[in-house]
Homo-oligomer: 305 residues x 2
């Protein structure tokens, strides 16, 4: 399973129906949180995600709407008895941030918070995926993140293996994992019974940013690009000044990168009741685009299935 | 107008339907906030209270669920162009708190935050009401607050004044404000045409606390007592240990103080779907009691109307 759950899709100013930024990824049951604006813990409760499986929070930058939910969330997790460590990643200043929130009121945690400062280009390697930190272009030090799955083995052609005389059992595993085997004096090559390796899936989340080359580069063939789309064309000058992107700018980049799907987020409060102008402007450039809404879920299918 | 708006009524752990503590009072258009848990700014948006009229935040104590909404709220007010100062009151450590949140991320305010540390017994005198800080009994330094309106002048008996020969006009004001006047050589006493002074209204909010004498004393004849009622009778030992009150303890105090109405709040997450056991236990002791719910509004009528 690879599922994206949009917990907060608003801009700098939350609204009645858009929480500040928080995007959760559920990968095979492990929960990762990208940004954690105020109210994220309650959004998690409403979405019934649980909190135990949350291993890591990736902060894009230290504006309030991207991180004010962290102190409450970690105190609630401690209250609920968490003992496993939590990993918090972010751009420069993340260590100071975690130190400051630990001084905020009467505060006691029963688990460790491990803090890792990331620079553009840094990669966190996990069991079968990695998280890439991407330099972005905002008004303060900022990062985007790409979750990139390792490539998966090719499909094992079981019928063909049996036809070649391989008995079902341990030899199947050997062949599937790339080892050639001998059966009754005959060499059976792994490549004879295993298809091409299959690419893993890729999700890119920009955080707040102007459109930029580093995001374009990492977004090539991404399954989903979740891009800053704070404003519409009529506010393009203000987008430049405030270091955000317009919906069309996000769409132009998505098109150039050849992503499968573009999701517009960080929607300014001026569009809280009707974000359709942003959608229309993006659709003029790139068809496969949607506007993120709070509590929207999206499953990312395996590429060959 | 004197209206209470319950923005957050949950316990230490927020839930899907109960935000952490935040109680707003609208007095003649001025907004006062008592505690400000995470998500309060969005609750204000949902209740359409606006933010401009908010003059003061009174924090009962520095546990997360009573104050984590402050940094987001004040940054949003700045974003919306506020220039008027905001007053933040709280028990010892309030100045450190405001200093710490000012260091939390890239943060810039366009208005002044005035911080006032309160001790039990301190009184803030405003134009025609005052706020009393009350010592309470919680696990960390804590205060409750009472909003007490000044007594109002007695009713002016206009018809009687005319019958006594007083011509409508400036003499009416003099008489109403307590000054005796002479009309055609005859002394007219203020007390002849003005009824008894009328008591102002009184709201008491405990914050988190064990039942205590100081709250009992200030709650005499209160119009509304909003009392910690975290737990039920089956959890009375835990209430003692965690320095909270049960619903029946709140009711016993309310009965003894002779309050007009008791509102139970800070409801533990274990009762989030059904707080009726708490209500029943309180009603066995004191009839005029309700359970606070998020977004509940309550108008406090003038005492003689």
């Amino acid at each position: 399973m690879l599922r994206i759950l949009f917990l907060g899709t608003g801009g700098s100013l939350p609204t009645r129906n858009r929480n500040p930024s928080a995007i959760m990824v559920n990968r095979e049951g492990e929960l990762l949180l990208f940004d954690c604006g105020e109210g994220t813990q309650q959004q998690m409760m409403r979405a019934k995600t649980g909190m135990k499986a949350l291993t890591s929070i990736f902060v894009t930058h230290f504006h309030a709407d991207h991180m004010l939910g962290i102190p409450g969330l970690i105190q609630t997790m401690s209250f609920l008895g968490r003992t496993e460590p939590l990993y918090i990643y972010g751009p420069q200043w993340v260590k100071e941030f975690v130190k400051i929130i630990s001084e905020l009121g009467y505060y006691k945690l029963h688990f460790e918070v491990e803090v890792i400062e990331m620079a553009p280009g840094d990669i966190i390697k996990r069991n079968d995926y990695s998280i890439h930190a991407i330099g972005t272009d905002h008004s303060v030090p900022s990062l985007g993140y790409a979750l990139i799955e390792d490539q998966r083995k090719g499909r094992f052609e079981r019928e063909k293996a049996i036809a070649l005389g391989v008995p079902p059992g341990p030899l199947f595993s050997k062949l599937h994992s790339g080892v050639d085997v001998e059966v009754n004096g005959k060499l059976i090559r792994s490549t004879d019974v295993v298809g091409q390796v299959r690419p893993g899936r890729k999700i890119v989340y920009t955080g707040d940013t102007r459109p930029c080359q580093s995001i374009l580069a990492v977004s090539r063939d991404a399954d989903v690009l979740i891009h800053d789309s704070t404003l519409g064309n009529d506010q393009s000058e203000w987008a430049k000044e405030s270091k955000h992107s317009t919906a069309s700018e996000a769409a132009i980049l998505a098109k150039e990168a050849g992503v499968r799907k573009l999701v517009l987020t960080h929607i300014s409060s001026r569009y809280t009741d009707d974000a359709s102008p942003l959608l229309r402007e993006a659709q003029e450039v790139f068809e496969n685009v949607i506007i993120a809404e709070d509590m929207m879920e999206m499953d990312i299918p395996l590429k060959d299935e």
